[in-house]
Symmetry: C2
Subunit: 105 residues, 2 copies
DNA sequence: TGGTAGGTACGATCGAACTCGTACCTGCTG
DNA sequence: CAGCAGGTACGAGTTCGATCGTACCTACCA
């Protein structure tokens, strides 16, 4: 069962939602940038500079969070997002590498 | 440029369309069954027994073909579908394994 | 105290995609 | 020849998702 903030546990991460989340180019871009950074790095939603409104950014980060790709933690008035690298690698080995290897668009 | 039947060449296979195609559970099921069979195996669309109408089956197979996941060849009044195993493996190593490992739904 | 910045929630819009029925074409087969 | 099975094309319905504006909350700062 997902926790209070909508994070699925490792066993709950399913391929369908993960692929649906990664089907969107903006969300792939977020995952790619997180994957390129150091492990455990946490960034704010706005630090990605997505070319959409704040409401839409929230929408995309929720999709990533509920699929189990990122973890979001409240920190003050911000919400830091980090990649669930080990969890994804455990469930779908190699998937992150494929996304990370995609050239920027 | 895709050929007359809509097959992209290996270099034209892109991650976005591939992930969009694989986001659908019925299409994942087709890929999974093809991946489980011998390399180069060709099956008719109807042999998968998808629980949807003929028109919808055609729709799904076009999505798979245009993404570059399968190759479809006319053979008499049938149209044989086979997995583009080597092509996908070359572009996105490990992806087929991830899809193939998903348990049936 | 007020303003600003980061985010969320809600409602609305718009287009894409999944679905289907129907009509049609092509081979095979009785 | 007639019928059937495998597929496609087209149009239509319906649902889903990406997007936005607005309103609102919380923390920080002048």
């Amino acid at each position: 069962m997902p926790d209070d903030e909508g994070h699925p546990s490792v066993e709950e991460i399913e391929l369908g939602p993960v692929l649906s989340a990664l089907a969107d180019p903006l969300r792939r871009r977020v995952v790619r940038e997180l994957a390129a950074g150091p492990d455990g790095a946490a960034r704010t939603c706005s630090s990605f500079g997505l070319p959409v409104s704040k409401a839409t950014v929230t929408h995309h980060f929720r999709a990533l969070r509920e699929a189990g790709l990122i973890r979001q933690v409240d920190r003050g008035n911000s919400r830091m997002a980090s990649l669930r690298r080990a969890d994804i690698e455990q469930r779908f080995p190699g998937l992150l590498g494929i996304v990370a290897a995609e050239p920027e668009e």
